[in-house]
Every structure is written in C-alpha cells, then in structure tokens.
Point group: C2
C-alpha cells in the first residue's frame, strides 16, 4: 500500500491516524510537498485529479482519495477496532462532528485557498493567519457547544471509544496550533484532544512527528 502524504497536511494526518489505529502500516510513504506545489504535478494529478492529498494506492492498483472516504473504506475493510459506533444515530453524530472539521473548516485553510487569497485579493500573511484563526475558532465554538451539551459525549467525542470524530478533532487542534487559535475557551475540546495525544497511534501520526516537519515548529 502506497501512501501519498505530507507532514503538514491535516487530511493526511487523519488517514495516517486511522491506519495506525487499525494496525496498518503503508509499505511505502511518498512525500508530496504541498509547499512546493508537488500535488499539481502531472505524476500526482494522474492519481488524484483534485490535486489534494492524501491518496492511497492499494497493492492491486486501487486508488483511494478524500480522507473521510478513505477512513470509511478502512472501517469497512478492517472493522477492528471500530472507528464508528454501531447504531445509525450514533454514527450520524460521529460523522456530523467529523464533517464540521473535514468539510466546514479544513478545506478553507488548505494551501490552494491560502494561495488564492494571497494572489487574487492580495491578502497579506497576517490576513491569511486571521482567516485560518477565524475558521478554526468557528469550528471549535460549534464543537464545544455540541460536545459539552450532549449526554453522548464520554471520554471521547462519542462515548468512551475513539471514533473518526476524535481523529478529526485532534487534527483541527493541530490546525489551531498552526493558526495560533487558543483552545482555552473550549474545555471539552481540549480535554478530549489531550486524551487523544496520549494514544500511541495519535502520537505517532502527529504532523510534527513526520519526516520533513520542522524540529521546533
């Protein structure tokens, strides 16, 4: 299994974390340097025309892309340990919390969007930082309201087992670090994120632990 990823990519983190939680290790990790625009080069474009990472190529040549689609695939093909709860209602809540991050937040702060803001509207570095900060904060407000207000919340986002929602939440906390968004106003979020990083798979998958990450980031 070939895994196309980049240390800083939060979508790559989500899949890396899911792989590790399922006890899977890619046979090859291919670095797609987003800061150098490698995702737009012909070779990668053939794999994922959306020019986004992560992507996975299985040994039989099957190509997978989009982080949540890959996580659902891993869940269907490697059901243990489960990363989704059993009942449709619980699954819907976990997916919705995940999508607050993976749909409503993270796609707004990826390189192509930050570059478009800078080139098209001449938004400066501080303005781009504000953009990233704003959308992370909006997500954490919504997540904190849901997590602190729901009796379904346990040690983790949903009950006492790790789910895809925890993976997404932890990834958003890394994004908050990139954009200097303080988690203090969001105690439930912070409690769960802190617990996630104590898990070995999360710790190993952390963006700042990957090859190429700055030592003092």
């Amino acid at each position: 299994m070939k895994f196309f990823s980049f240390w800083r990519s939060l979508a790559s983190f989500r899949v890396r974390c899911g792989l590790y939680l399922k006890g899977l290790t890619p046979s090859e990790v291919i670095d797609v340097n987003l800061m150098q625009g490698k995702q737009r080069e012909e070779a990668f474009r053939k794999i994922n025309p959306m020019m986004a990472i992560p992507a996975l190529i299985e040994n039989d040549g099957n190509v997978l892309f989009e982080s949540l689609a890959i996580l659902e695939y891993l869940e269907e093909t490697h059901p243990n340990p489960p990363l989704l709860p059993k009942t449709p209602k619980a699954r819907a809540r976990v997916r919705a919390l995940s999508q607050i991050v993976a749909c409503d937040t993270h796609p707004l702060i990826v390189p192509r969007v930050r570059e478009f803001l800078a080139h098209e509207y001449k938004v400066d570095e501080a303005g781009v930082q504000k953009w990233g900060h704003h959308w992370h904060e909006a997500a954490f407000k919504a997540l904190e309201a849901n997590l602190s207000g729901s009796k379904e919340t346990g040690r983790y986002c949903h009950g006492d087992q790790i789910t895809i929602a925890d993976i997404c939440l932890a990834g958003n906390a890394v994004g908050a670090f990139y954009f200097k968004c303080d988690l203090t106003p969001f105690p439930t979020v912070r409690r769960i994120v802190d617990l996630c990083w104590q898990n070995e798979a999360f710790a190993r998958a952390h963006p700042l632990k990957q090859p190429g990450a700055p030592a003092a980031a």
Copy 2:
C-alpha cells in the same frame, strides 16, 4: 420529521433530493433564510451550533446535521433504493467524488465565507463571483478527469444507478449556475447532470423549485 432548509442552500438540496429518492417527505419544512442570517439566531443555534443548514429533527427528537452525515443515515435507516453501491471500493469512489463537492468545494462558497471575504478583505461583488466561479471550475476539472477516465462511470457517476455522488454533482451544477461557471468544457459532468434533472426526485428537489426561490433566477 422537521426539515430545516432554505431554497438556495445546496447542502439542503442534497438532503431534500436524498429524502425524495428514498420516498420520504418531511412532515414540516422550516425555512431558515440564510440571506437574512436566520441560521445565526438563538433558536436555530440550539439545533445546530455550527449554524448551518440543513438539519433534521426526527419525531423522537433526534437531531441530524451535516448533509453527508444525514445522507449516510438515510442510507442506513432506509436502505431502499440504495444510494451507495455494495462493495467497499465502489463505495469509496462514490464517497470520494461526493466529497470533492461537499468538502472541497461547497463549504468555500457558503454565505458565511462570502460575507467574511466581503467584510474582512473588502472583496467586491465581482471578486466574490470570481471566487465562487474558481472553486466550482476546479471541482468540475477534477470530476471530469475522474468520470471520463474511469471504467466505473456509467450512465451515472458510478454505474447505472443513482448514488450520493450524483446528488452532489447535480448540486454543484446549481452552484455553477449561481456563479456563471460554464459546463461546456466538462461533457461527462454535463451528460450526467442532464440525466439527473430528468429524474422526478431531482427535479422536485431543485433549489429553484422551492418556496421563496426567485421566479426568474
């Protein structure tokens, strides 16, 4: 079942279309006027702290939000007719195509983002139009490359049955209409979208067919 929606909302369209395809009709439709900022009012904020539509409240009080999470829930609770194929690989492809729209594209053009561009960076109306046009075009380029290059593509995005990918694709075509993005360079996309609108559920769910939509939009 109470359905919180707005005529123009493409995420509401996705769920409305899924409901109709499954033969379901909400007992009550509550208009959340995004142009008047009704999604940010206290009453709706309690239902979905992300302040986004659609949301569904079931008869037992269960709250559902995030369009793709709701569609997966409908699939699990009302499996016929199916809106996802059977095999994990096929499901992964359908979900990935759906997420090009519902994660990578649509969240960029929702009211809160357009308003932030206008207020924070003083982007004028033409600049906001360009933004919407740019992200729709990027999605259609990726979708056309995948759809035209895959032997899995049939009459619809995946084979000859309607899936969630077709719902997302048709919604993106409505977004293209809002932002004057020409579909001519994307013949496979256009062929499938045209076929979707011939389906009664799609036609009934079309944003411009909902109460409140402008007659000559």
